[in-house]
């Protein structure tokens, strides 16, 4: 095993673990250098590399390099670099080291060739990312992080159980196409589905991500859900059920995004919506669909990071990301506003921006395969994502009515990270061939046709007009300080009430049972005292004659039993 063949993820994990130990002044540099080293490792990785070790009597494949794992490996390492640059000013606390361990675990997971190795790094992403949530420090973040961790660990347990069943079913732990045919496959799909935020399994995302710090949320947005997408693309490509699950995912979160006041929570809903497109692509299972899913995951990590970075900069400078409190910030933070608009144009799939060349692959494939209704929903969701992420985010933060906030522009390293992400978004949008070359299957798709550009522009411009008309007529719902009930209500309110009720009932039972037990114990104690106590029957001194009589009686009894 050469250095180059060592899992690149381990480099990031090692850097993350070492970071708290090195002098404070060196910490930022170490965390910035680690992704560069890991990237060099990936570039040096021989094609189709396999690194295996023997452990517990099974072969563990630590590195299985193919185009699918490499595409995710590259983008995860790029995201780790962007995060380190963006979080340059954060030198204390567990957040940045944990973020690097988290990124490393995600990289290692996409190169895992077997389910056991995948499970180990899967769990490491869960624990490290929970630390990132907690590092924000507030009580809300603590609660959200705890709920987040429980759900992520549940995904890990399902993965472990699925892996065991797969081993029983196939005699191998290898992680390749799984399919839904067996119980093991079903458990794995559920495990991956939690990470991908399938409907009803999704709320950990909107709950926890917006509670992390300005820098932490950017970190979180990149890895967990895209690791889920990777696993789904590897194990369940062509599983038709995913088309409907994904279609549902694109549509339902956007209604919540429209009425949500916390702009980072709006983005969390749009993460969910974008994941839906990828899930559809995987479900289609065609070359175009799977390529589209991978390409869109790649692009999404960049533009979602960019959007979260711009909102993080706003949070850092103004102390809030509530739509009700913001507005007119373009005057104070023009660069941040500009980068935010690049991210918004990318997620909305404007021509020349990344989403245009990636999302369209999935939609085109859905139409080709004859999924007309699904295609219509996806088109609705495309207009909707422009509406809530493309317009609402920049509009309420940087434009709308001037909230009178005057602050400084974001710090230089944050602007640098945003600039780099923006450059990559535009780079992918203008030179899609570079990204297409990384995709797992052969690409036969031309995004830039006059027809595609025109239809997409029509869709977007008329969506923008709808927004403008609704704003100017006052029909658009105003931002309101509120919490919107989503599925997490079932466990945060109903579940909490049930738990509290159960606890109260148990306490009552305890009290009653305790009283009974105590009375019983007193009775037993009294009896013991009477029999064995200082004056008890068994503690008395008995006469020798009496003892001899008892022994004689016992022996007689013995004799009797012998003859019987």
């Amino acid at each position: 095993m050469t250095i180059a063949e060592l899992p690149a993820g381990l480099t990031l994990i090692a850097a993350g673990l070492a970071a708290p130990l090195v002098p404070r002044a060196w910490r930022g540099a170490l965390l910035l250098a680690a992704p560069l080293a890991a990237f060099a490792q990936l570039l040096a990785l021989p094609a189709a590399a396999h690194v295996a070790v023997e452990a517990f009597g099974v072969t563990l494949q630590l590195v299985r390099a193919d185009k699918l794992s490499l595409a995710f490996g590259y983008i995860f390492v790029i995201a780790a670099f962007l995060n380190a640059l963006y979080g340059w000013h954060v030198r204390d606390g567990a957040e940045q080291p944990a973020a690097m361990v988290y990124a490393g675990a995600a990289v290692a997971a996409v190169f895992a060739g077997d389910l056991l190795t995948l499970f180990v790094f899967w769990e490491l992403t869960a624990v490290a990312s929970a630390v990132v949530v907690w590092a924000q420090g507030s009580k809300r973040a603590y609660g959200a992080g705890l709920r987040y961790l429980v759900i992520q660990l549940a995904s890990g347990m399902l993965l472990a159980a699925g892996a065991v069943l797969r081993y029983a079913e196939t005699g191998s732990l290898a992680f390749d196409l799984v399919g839904l045919g067996t119980p093991g496959g079903a458990l794995l799909l559920l495990a991956f589905g939690i990470k991908c935020a399938f409907p009803l399994l999704h709320n950990w995302l909107q709950d926890a991500y917006p509670e992390a710090s300005a820098t932490g949320t950017v970190v979180l947005s990149a890895f967990t859900t895209k690791l889920g997408i990777y696993a789904l693309a590897r194990g369940f490509a062509g599983t038709e059920m995913l088309i409907w699950i994904g279609t549902l995912m694109t549509a339902f979160p956007i209604f919540y995004a429209v009425i949500e006041n916390d702009l980072r929570r709006v983005l969390a809903y749009s993460v969910n919506n974008q994941l839906g497109f990828m899930v559809v692509g995987i479900g289609l299972g065609t070359d175009l669909g799977v390529n589209g899913a991978v390409a869109h995951a790649f692009a999404d990590i960049l533009f979602k990071a960019l959007l979260f970075m711009s909102m993080g900069a706003v949070l850092l400078r103004t102390g809030t990301v509530k739509g009700t409190d913001l507005g007119g910030l373009y005057k104070s933070m023009p660069w941040t506003a500009g980068f935010c608009i690049v991210g918004a144009a990318s997620i909305s799939a404007f021509p020349l921006f990344s989403g245009f060349v990636t999302k369209s692959m999935i939609m085109f494939s859905a139409a080709q395969q004859g999924y007309a209704w699904e295609w219509l929903v996806l088109l609705f969701a495309s207009a909707g994502v422009f509406h809530h992420a493309g317009i609402k985010i920049p509009f309420f933060a940087f434009f709308a009515h001037d909230a009178g906030i005057r602050c400084r522009e974001a710090p230089g390293h944050m602007l640098a990270a945003m600039a780099l992400a923006a450059l990559l978004c535009i780079g992918i949008g203008t030179f899609p061939a570079a990204l297409y070359a990384l995709l797992p299957r052969a690409v036969d798709y031309t995004p830039y046709t006059a027809s595609h550009v025109l239809s997409q522009l029509q869709l977007l411009v008329f969506s923008a007009l709808a927004f403008s008309v609704l704003m100017r007529t006052g029909i658009y719902p105003p931002e309101k300080r509120s919490v919107n009930l989503d599925f997490d209500w079932t466990y945060r309110r109903v579940g909490a009430r049930l738990a509290a009720g159960t606890a109260a009932a148990l306490a009552m039972f305890n009290a009653a049972a305790g009283a009974g037990l105590r009375a019983g114990a007193r009775r037993v104690g009294g009896w013991l005292q009477a029999v064995h106590g200082a004056d008890g029957v068994l503690a008395r001194t008995w006469s020798t004659g009496g003892m001899a009589l008892w022994v004689a009686l016992m022996l007689a009894g013995y004799l009797l039993v012998m003859y019987l």
């Binding site: 809300r140 956007i254 209604f255 919540y256 429209v258 009425i259 005057k331 104070s332 939609m363 085109f364 139409a367 080709q368 007309a372 295609w375 219509l376 088109l379 609705f380 207009a383 909707g384 509406h387 434009f399 001037d402 005057r406 046709t449 006059a450 027809s451 025109l454 239809s455 997409q456 522009l457 029509q458 869709l459 977007l460 411009v461 008329f462 969506s463 923008a464 007009l465 709808a466 927004f467 403008s468 008309v469 609704l470 100017r472 029909i475 658009y476 719902p477 309101k480 300080r481 509120s482 919490v483 919107n484 009930l485 989503d486 945060r492 309110r493």
Partner: protein
């Protein structure tokens, strides 16, 4: 220069109206381009004149109206989950 007193171009409502009208003009121009550019339909029905424009507009209005309805059901005070 005191940043607080600076007037920006967008501070004038008339300029906002100009942008708004410009957007309409752009949208209508894009629709008219349908006569020039032959759009290849992806599905069976999207080749119809103005399909994407109308669909985008209607979809967004429907989205917002539905979301307003949704708010009636799910909106709670900001500290809803905070009380013990």
């Amino acid at each position: 220069m005191n940043a607080d007193n600076k007037r920006y171009w967008l501070d004038d409502p008339r300029n906002v109206t100009t942008v708004y009208r410009g957007l309409w003009a752009f949208g209508i121009a894009l629709l008219l381009l349908d006569f020039v550019v032959h759009r290849h339909a992806e599905a069976d029905f999207d080749g119809v004149f103005g399909f994407y424009g109308v669909y985008g507009f209607v979809a967004c209005v429907a989205l917002v109206l539905a979301a307003k309805l949704l708010r009636r059901g799910v909106m709670r005070p900001e500290d809803y989950y905070d009380d013990r």
